[in-house]
Amino acid sequence: MVPLYYYLIFSALLFSVGLAGALTRRNAILVLIGIELMLNAANLNFIAFWRYSPDPEALTGMMFVIFSIAVAAAEAAVGLALIIAIYRHYRTVDLTKVDSLKG
């Protein structure tokens, strides 16, 4: 079996990919996808820590992931609703063009 840090590094990589995407892409949907990737990387960390903890029967990490998935689903729904609202208002989902608060 692989040691714990394999999973941790893998999840760090996934997190970085998501972060890079969220920072570089300008389409709001792609930014949201990047955020989802980061969230999943964090969830993977929780599960890995739970599995490798001395007392896995406590289920703490797993519970956290279950709640996190629930919140993430709601977040995705609300986020996409926001994106569609922005699209209907500005006719674009390019985040650099949505800058009316910049003054």
Binding site: P3, L8, I29, L30, I33, M63, A70, A73, R88
Partner: protein, 192 residues
Amino acid sequence: MGITFAIIAALTLVSAIAAMSLRNLVHCALSLAVTFAGIAAMYLQLDAQFVGFAQILVYIGAVAILIVFAILLTRSSETPQPVISRSWIMGIVIALAVFGVLTKVILSSSIAQRELPAKPAPTVRQIGDQLMTRYVLPLEAIGLLLTAATIGAVIIAMHDKKGRGDGGQNVNSTPSRAEAHQHADETHNLIT
């Protein structure tokens, strides 16, 4: 076991990179679905069956579909940007820096070297028991959150219907938007 991990990790990473870098948005969404599946496989490898299946059910069955709908409703309008722009370099640099710091911390930690303990048997019954006893307060909070989100989605959808008259050129997108909210609804209900 190392080989399985390597295969899943490679597949997940490649599809994640594809999800973040492809030009066609629908391709991005589909590779995102592959990434989600890979992460679910990771969960299964870590003996977390319940979470793995929940991941597939919620992320592939609902979130990916939701993203696909959003892509189709907004029409991809990303103007082609120069491959190496300033923000692009900045983003990559920041991501690499984050990765470097994380890796350094992980490798210097003693916990990270820990070997796999004996296989626990987290039955679904145990999870249910814990949810109803120790974690009952978070569960209620989640229930409240999802109910609020559901009601909010319904209200937005109903409001849309009323505002259809002054929507002008948006008339076409209105029903599909209501549909999108139904899907949002659905996502909530799936988990509750």
